[in-house]
Symmetry: C2
Subunit: 275 residues, 2 copies
């Protein structure tokens, strides 16, 4: 998917919402748990009910791998369904991969070609040659972990050297590897205080911002600091949407949560005179 | 697998060799490529022919994921085969995973419980809560990327702060999370010059050392600098062994390469009076 198409969709849906698909058999409604492919059935229902309010879906690969081959078969079916049914939706493999070049090119092949995702999250620890293989795919997007939403982010991402923290080194260095058309960054909503600084380094890059909702980040705060003239942000919410209810009304409740975020996003976009 | 069993196996086989399983359909012998499950058939032959000389097998997950569900089914069959046929062999999922705690616990479940590996490589970029879920499994080992063998390692792992490089911060900080019984470190053979320094920080930890062979690291050099009183190193070779030949004799040639390394390891262990 081209970046321009994503921006177009955001303007059309008046939403920069990304719904995170983290299927957990212990949390999904009981009547689905007993079906043949509960992971697929549950996730498909969530997608169908929230797609009106969201421009992107982020598939947390850990939650599929946890169920072994069965979980990965469900993932394959799901991404095929989305690509067929909703071709204008932006899909993210939240896989946080990264290895020596020879191996990273295999991961890129797996997620971009085999599964057919538009984008993948990658860890920058191993540097340039671990990320470049992902960047060579046309109309695919490599989303580099810069500043993550978890508490452990402070262990190494905040190490300071030559006036810059490690996450800033990652941003500055990676700008040499790709551009806005093939590279985005993860910036956790819980680290909103640093967004102003991030925007000085990469004013035009798209940011994937997880951590709104259960993790405590504020939509209004990250939007004020993160939005740019091309929108420039995707804000992700997972658990607050997909587990809004664990009863028969789970899809409606998920849609209501997604709509709530979309309405607030529409207001923000209008206030900022972006739409 | 307990660490003490691994050390016992090393003394028994007089080898600290780990064979890296990176199956590539373009490189495996033609007569296998046309079989029903070439990835499994090829990898199984390599394992059967080299297991006499190796104490560990490292499965590069990228090479399996690249073939989608088929590749992962082959992986599942292979690890089941190894666990049944060679229960004293130490298995490594070279997966380089790592995510927020909630997700990392899923990856841990996937590789330790679903697939049944003894250990997994993880990326430290996201800090403590991204690694701790792996550490809670008994007799399983979490192998943290510290200093990797690729050229990109220099981009961020060598950033210097307060007298320590980032990879040293990773080592020092992670010592608070676990101990020798559940934590190991990846130190690339191409970075042997830093091994002396690594040993000062973690004299007793086990190190997984890839990068000998095609990547240019020297077995003798890393052994001299890395071995400790409990052996303390696993040296990995992948391509030089498994692609020693792409003809009918590939298994014999792989065995010969593995044996060559084992013989050199035996000599080193004797010279150091470890065995």
């Amino acid at each position: 998917m081209k970046l321009s198409s994503l921006i177009e969709q955001i303007k059309l849906k008046k939403s920069y919402l990304c719904v995170g698909i983290d299927p957990d058999l212990e949390k999904i409604p009981g009547h689905i748990r007993n079906q043949k492919d509960p992971i697929y059935t549950f996730s498909k229902s969530i997608i169908d009910s929230t797609v009106k309010f969201a421009v992107a879906f982020k598939f947390n690969i850990a939650f599929f791998e946890a169920y072994g081959i069965d979980g990965l078969v469900s993932l394959e079916k799901l991404i095929k369904y989305v690509n067929t049914q909703y071709p204008h939706v932006f899909t993210i493999a939240d896989a946080k991969r990264g290895d020596i070049g020879n191996s990273s090119s295999r991961y890129a092949k797996a997620f971009f070609e085999k599964f057919g995702f538009d984008s993948i999250t990658v860890s920058p620890y191993m540097g340039r040659d671990s990320i470049e293989p992902f960047l060579s795919f046309e109309n695919r997007h490599t989303i580099i972990l810069a500043l993550t939403s978890n508490s452990g982010a402070e262990d190494f991402q905040f190490i300071s050297s030559e006036g810059k923290k490690v996450y800033e080194h990652v941003i500055v260095e990676s700008k040499k590897w790709g551009g806005n058309e093939n590279m985005m960054y993860v910036i956790g909503a819980t680290k909103a205080i640093h967004l102003e600084n991030v925007r000085k380094l990469i004013p035009n890059s798209f940011l994937l911002i997880p951590g709104v909702g259960k993790q405590g980040g504020s939509l209004e705060e990250v939007s004020t600091l993160g939005l740019n003239k091309n929108i420039g942000i995707l804000v992700n919410s997972s658990r607050a949407i997909i587990y809004a209810s664990n009863k028969g009304d789970f899809a409606e409740k998920a849609a209501a949560e997604a709509k709530n975020l979309q309405v607030r996003m529409e207001l923000i976009l209008k206030n900022k005179q972006i739409i």
